[in-house]
Amino acid sequence: MRRNPKDNQHSVRRMTRRALMLGGAQAAFIGVLGLRMRHLQVEQADQFRLLAEENRINIRLIPPARGQIFDRNGRVIAENVPSYRITMVPEDTGDPDLVLRRLAALIDLAPEDVDRVRTTIDEVRGDTPVTIVDRVSWEDLSKVAVNGPALPGITPEVGLSRHYPRGLDYAHVVGRVGPVSSFDLEQIENPDPLLRIPRFQIGKVGVEAKAEEILRGRAGIKRVEVNAAGRVMRELDRREGEAGVNLQLTVDSALQEYTQARLATESAAAVVMDCETGDLLAVASAPSYDPNLFVRGISSTDYSALIENKYRPLVPKTVQGLYPPGSTFKMVTALAALEAGIVTPEDTVYCPGHLEVSDRRFHCWKRAGHGSMDLRDSLSQSCDVYYYDLALKVGIEKISDMARRLGLGVAFDVPMSSVKAGVAPTRDYKRERFGQEWVIGDTVNASIGQGFVLASPMQLAVMSARLATGRAVTPRLIKSIDGVEQPSGHGDDLGLDPGNLRQVRRAMYAVSNHRRGTAYGSRILAEGYQMAGKTGTSQVRNITAEERRRGVTRNEDLPWDRRDHALFVNFAPYDAPKIAVAVVVEHGGGGSSVAAPVARDITLQALYGDTPPLEAYPASDRSRAKALQDRLQREREAREREAQSRA
């Protein structure tokens, strides 16, 4: 078929025309593309450059290593151990449910954890990392790391966590750390950004809390390049933070361990102080708990068990427990009277078993009466009437003043939680506190450490140390900070008459060394190590007439929480005092039968520094002392074996 040439020409012309039109349209579109490139890449370049930088650069805090805590001999009390955890950045995860399901297939994931993560995701900002599981094993961490590509937004992290190798021994002194709670954050004004790192640990109680500022250290900062999944590709630069400062405590771990073991499962507290420096060599409160449980996040059953325990294991009784000091207060009354010049040590008071004061009868603990008593006999036999008499003569103000000079009613600056001041009562105190006028009976009660008088075991130890030295010894718990020795608690002379002090000390010596002394059964036999002390049995409340009718006359017949507190304070050696000790056994019964042997054992341990010879104990106590020594020895060996097998 031949075509009409005209038709052909027409077709070529039309196609050329249309081709040029279409070409023109294409050129125009290419122009638009070029302009768009110019718009994005030249005009808006700066803005997009900024966005690209924001995309890729992330500023991260480097948590500093928390300062370690050592005992006076350099043994570790609180350390940092590597801990592995798995976190998730919700924003990068895409489908959290899917990712959590995959994660659960890899590692053990408790349903509570999954639920907790789900609710947390809804609460936090999308770019805040959420901890899925803490303290996973290295194996689990590796599994997650290897499967990284299938788990967007999931990061295996290596961090440091607090560990207390001597957990139970130091729970009440060093306290514990725990993750920052939103409550903590509200408490702090302008909080350190570090605290916003998930699960960052801060001190919650004890030294950990009190020395938080110096233990925490300063955060470092690193700029990292991240990819679209939030995974860190490389580090651009970093400014190192400062690790927390190391602390050395004055506590001696061996003695602390012994003391804690000696108190055993009683609800009790004991404080051992160095008379020379005021160093707290042992600060024990029983029962104790394992602070490591809290660091890990304690289960609610464990926690309620601790809370509901009537022996209150969470309370550091050494500084928080306030007890009527009972007869251990008698040195205060005696010294107040001696210093006032009202009595001499030789003056005697006749004890018929009671004293009538303004129509009220105040009994001596010995109903039959002690007969004629001087200072030494009254203290060693703990006659109450003698002190009633002194108090009536000297008055409450002088007694209370002496109590404060000896360290009672004063809150010491010890870095432990809720250090209580106790009460050295005055007329003003009663008026302010109870809105009542002081009556003479209050003075009589105060003279034997009952009534309004309240003291903590640590205060009693301080009192004992001050009686032993005549100086204002103050307790010191921090030996050095970052290697810098802290000021000692040596203290200045109290300005008490040395003769009077000597008389009181001599009387205290008689308590534990005189055949009729209340603590004679708990004396120390080793020559040159003898202690001077004072027993105390403080009433929680009187036995009521109703109870007497029912035949309850003995302390042991009462329910535990109404029995008397057993107390003992002492210093040793008598000739050249090195240590002062105070022991309180809550509702333990008699000071001489319960508290004195404990104090004696602790004293011996402290004086010998190692296992004391059995000959130092009275014959009747040797088998029990031996049993405890052997038990501790076995435990130490077991621990060492465990440590070796771990290594």
Partner: protein, 379 residues
């Protein structure tokens, strides 16, 4: 006009044909492909595997394919146009039945040595068929409704099949390429005006109907449109791609961050960085200068094709060359618009630069046809 009707004064034969190839176009294609190798090397983090090396091999094979196709006389290709078209329709149906779906929506048939995407093949066979149709159709019948309906049917048939895959990008390309050739062939203005008006009306209707009882699209489809219109609204989902792509482009600035220094692509902020979004890597690493350079290379290819077409008195050759050029244009124009946020994200690769086998081979075969028309033009 058909070859039979010319008095061909001189037709090159044998190896001499090589001298008559449109070498500028061949060299421009190689230059564009070279840019592709460079970018694939870069997005792999400075490595020939996994993308640059296979891409280079494919381009080599494609170049050989182009020359082989170019050596075959153009009239042979015109004569087999209908058969090729038919074959590609069969393949489209076959892939619907036995094909495998992978990476997005495109379906392919595994031939053993390569994965054949019938929808890619159709792009070129449709151009061949329409060119042949208008070569055969007398000029005065071109605008006759009946003779207009027939090519419309030729276009819609594969478009529908591709849409069913569902591959919206390719379907739109087929529609645009088909319409373009009909326009070039001289179909009356009124048809196009009518179609454009109807299209505009449809768009208005789609938007007007939203939220009413006669809503024309599904809710999720509206959301996709919203995302395109305002990518910031949905920064973590579909809009993420557009936003990150624009950040990559924009942060490149005038001269770019330097070869292999593109943070957006290297740190995986870019999606599909080796395929559909490879242009963003180029723009990020070589900046405005690099991006415009590629655009200029593409434009030159189109220009040389149009010159070749206008200098060819053979109607089939001209239409075919213009059709190939138009298809090529549509590829890069849609891809660039998409990554620059001017068009919604529809999976269309950047021709010769994006990693991918089928598209590269089909494109090189198409340029083979264009070269064949060039070599065998009536002189």
């Amino acid at each position: 006009m058909s070859y039979l009707e010319y008095t061909v004064k001189y037709t090159p034969a044998g190896p001499r044909k090589l001298l008559y190839l449109n070498w500028p176009v061949a060299l421009l294609l190689a230059a564009v492909a070279a840019i592709g190798f460079l970018m694939l090397y870069s997005v792999a983090g400075g490595s020939f595997s996994p993308w640059a090396e296979p891409q280079m091999k494919r381009f080599g094979a494609g170049f050989v394919l182009m020359i082989i196709v170019a050596m075959v006389p153009i009239w042979f290709w015109r004569n087999v146009a209908a058969v090729a078209y038919g074959l590609s329709l069969v393949l489209l149906v076959a892939v619907e039945l036995i094909g495998e779906v992978g990476m997005g929506a495109q379906r392919w048939i595994d031939l053993g040595f390569m994965r054949l995407q019938p929808s890619e093949v159709t792009k070129i066979t449709l151009v061949m068929l329409l060119a042949a149709y208008y070569d055969w159709l007398p000029m005065k019948k071109v605008s006759h409704p009946l003779w207009v309906a027939l090519p419309v049917f030729f276009v819609l048939l594969p478009t529908g099949l591709v849409l069913a895959q569902p591959d919206l990008g390719t379907a739109l390309l087929l529609l645009a390429a088909g319409g373009g050739i009909m326009f070039l062939a001289g179909v009356h203005w009124a048809y196009f005006a009518a179609v454009i008006t109807a299209g505009a009306g449809l768009i208005v209707a789609v938007f007007q109907s939203r939220g009413t009882s006669w809503q024309l699209l599904k809710d999720y489809q509206y959301r996709r449109i919203d995302t395109f219109l305002d990518p910031g609204q949905d920064p973590l989902d579909a809009g993420y791609h557009i936003t990150q792509s624009k950040i990559a482009l924009g942060s490149g600035g005038w001269s770019g961050k330097g070869f292999m220094q593109g943070t957006q692509s290297r740190l995986n902020f870019l999606p599909e960085k080796h395929t559909d979004f490879i242009f963003t890597t180029l723009a990020e690493e070589f900046g405005f200068v690099g991006a415009v350079s590629l655009l200029v290379l593409y434009t030159l290819i189109i220009v040389f094709c149009v010159i070749s077409a206008l200098n060819n008195r053979d109607r089939f050759s001209s239409l075919l060359t213009l059709g190939v050029a138009l298809t090529f244009f549509l590829f890069f124009a849609v891809n660039m618009s998409m990554v620059m946020g001017l068009a919604p994200v529809v999976g269309v690769p950047l021709p010769l630069v994006s990693y991918g086998g089928s598209a590269m081979m089909v494109l090189m075969a198409a340029f083979g046809l264009m070269q064949s028309a060039h070599v065998h033009k009536p002189r």
